[in-house]
């Protein structure tokens, strides 16, 4: 699959595909590399007996686990990595018991507990914790930046930065990749504004249609089975045949599926507005058809049962082109304003 194809699939399904898996694997690789660098630094600095020495392999193990579980839902990678970060801070706290102030130790222990709670809660489905974990990881990253800035403040040349604080540079890279991962749509919780937007979009797709909705003559013929270029015929099963058509509502379309069921001699139509999410489907049956020329144009009336009917403006291909141009202009006007 090409990159564009995988990106499109990602956009469509917001889930387990090449792109998201690549980012998950990247997170795992960065964890392993950071772990190796930190471990090498600890050994080089002769801190083998130090508690920090125990913290570094955790990153390597968590990186391997993240790669192994990269096909699983994102909560596995998030929980493993967040727990690892919490444990690393915990080890650092234990190793600094004699040297750090009480305030510092309290803040570190609070950080550990908060990160662990957020990780467990995220694993169990509360996606708001992605934001909490992001803030905690950002705090860790800010601390790395502060350390690097301090080393620079001591008149260390840029060229020597890598040899003076490799641990902080690697940890900062790890934090940035983890934050990027946490910001993925499939990982983070939708913001309240986004929930509002998608909610309104649902309401629109399920319950609202504009009076300007129209169907082209060619599409109407497909819907009614008068032309059968999109129709499929089945020898078995409850469906005899099925065809595709579309109703146009400004820049969106309603994808329609006309079906003839075995034992019935009329068409049933399902329709679903082509938006980000899918509905379970709405439909009507066509028992009787009439056409009427009215002031606003030519309309088709599709009658069902018990007073139900659908009224659609029918346009030719030429009229459709004009409609599209008018709509584009009106959209442009809105954009300009």
């Amino acid at each position: 699959m090409d990159v564009k194809g995988s990106w499109n699939e990602y956009q469509a399904n917001r889930g387990y595909n090449l792109y998201s898996r690549t980012i998950t694997i990247l997170l795992g690789v960065v964890s392993i590399v950071t772990g190796v660098i930190c471990l090498a630094w600890v050994i080089y600095s002769h801190l083998d007996g130090h508690m920090d020495f125990n913290a570094c392999p955790l990153l390597i193990i968590s990186g391997i686990l993240v790669i192994v579980y990269s096909k699983r839902p994102p909560r596995y990678a998030v929980t493993i990595t967040a727990m690892t970060l919490a444990l690393i801070v915990f080890f650092k706290m234990v190793s600094a018991l004699d040297t750090r102030s009480l305030t510092n130790l309290l803040v570190m222990s609070l950080y550990t507990v908060a990160m662990m709670i957020a990780a467990v809660s995220y694993f169990l489905g509360n996606r708001h914790n992605a934001w909490r974990i992001t803030i905690l990881v950002a705090l860790h990253g800010a601390l790395c930046v502060a350390n690097i800035a301090f080393v620079l403040y001591l008149n260390t040349p840029w060229t020597e930065l890598w040899t003076r604080c490799p641990e902080d540079i690697a940890s900062l890279a790890f934090c940035l990749v983890f934050i990027y991962y946490l910001m993925q749509p499939a990982v983070k919780e939708d913001s309240i504004n986004k929930l509002m937007k998608t909610g309104v979009s649902t309401l629109e797709s399920v319950a609202v249609s504009r009076p300007s909705v129209y169907i082209t003559e060619a599409s109407l013929k497909e819907m009614l089975g008068q032309t059968i270029s999109t129709w499929k015929f089945y020898k078995e099963g409850p469906l005899v045949s099925e065809g595709r058509s579309e109703i146009i509502d400004k820049k969106q379309v309603f994808e329609c599926s006309s079906k003839v069921w075995r034992g019935e001699n009329f068409i049933r139509v399902s329709f679903d507005r082509d938006v980000r999410d899918r509905t379970f489907g709405n439909g009507f049956e066509i028992r009787y058809i009439t056409y009427a020329d009215e002031a606003l144009g030519r309309f088709v009336y599709l009658y069902g049962r018990e007073g139900f009917f659908i009224k659609l403006r029918v346009v030719s291909e030429e009229e459709k082109v004009e409609e599209d141009e008018i709509e584009t202009e009106s959209y442009d006007e809105v954009d300009v304003r």
Binding site: A12, N13, R14, G15, Y16, K71, S101, L102, T103, N104, L106, V107, L110, V113, M116, I117, V120, S121, L124, N126, H128, R132, P185, A186, D190, I192, N193, L195, M196, T198, G199, V200, T202, L203, S205, V206, G237, P238, L239, S257, K259, W261, R268, V269, S270, F271, D272, R276, D277, R278, T279, F280, G281, N282, G283, F284, E285
Partner: protein
Amino acid sequence: MINGEDVSKFLLMLSRHSTKILSKAMALLMLFYSVTSIYLQLNYNLYGGDLIVIAFGATTILALITLFTKKVDVFRLVGIFAMMLAIQRFYVKFAAFSWDASNFVIVVNIIFMGMAANMGITGASFLVGKVIRRTSMMISSTTMALYEFFCLEYLPHPVVIDEAWIYTACMLCLIGMYLCIIGLMDMDSVRFSTKIAKYSKILESYRNEHQYDRGAAVSHEVARALVDRKSPLWKPGKGGPVEAEMHFVLEGYSTKAKVTVQKWYDDNRLFFTVQDEPGSILFAKRFAVDTIQMMDNKVRLVGKDGTDATLWVRD
């Protein structure tokens, strides 16, 4: 030996009761902070005026009430605590002008008085049950906590105080209270109480019932149970017209719904009821499925009422 499962259970318990724990922690810290502050003021005149003792007295009583009351209204609690904290911080920073009037300190104190005022106004709106400016309050609290942390870590303690540990404990309580305020502001009960959040929650429920995102999937077991119409997932009906019933969760990346499927006697259709959350059902998305097709890793539900839904089958 530490058992991983027990630790997870403990963390989960903390997560579930986080609002209550934060409220009680806030009250406990407020109690300790108020009592030590009264002590420091009366003995060392730390805040530069005995008037502040009245405010600390009020918070002591409030903290005691919160600690010993079983049912606590989170909004009002947050509101009262935020207001009291704001009044105290405003007074402390205002009083600080009298003993250090350098330009830098004046600017810093004015900024912190502004933050305290913001916290007070937000707290007042919480008191009347209106959640506003949650984010600005969280930012103010974070800044104030970082400032206090910086003062405690890097600046020398006020020279007037002999018992330094009391001052340290007092400041730690203050930092703890700011952290509790930040935590309480981030709890679901507060987060979803702003006007726009309430509307979006209603819309989200509607969305969960009527739509599923393109990545929404069911387990292989559920898919097979739907296609075969027999599986341990199907339970006998609870009487009436229902022959059998099964439940599953339809989960996407941003939508999640509880689905009840019923088989009725003398009817070949499957009746689906989709609801946002488990519990009573009045309004819900209901549809009938006449046939279910299994295609590779997808399952398609088709009904004569217009139902046409395609769901992923996950590994």
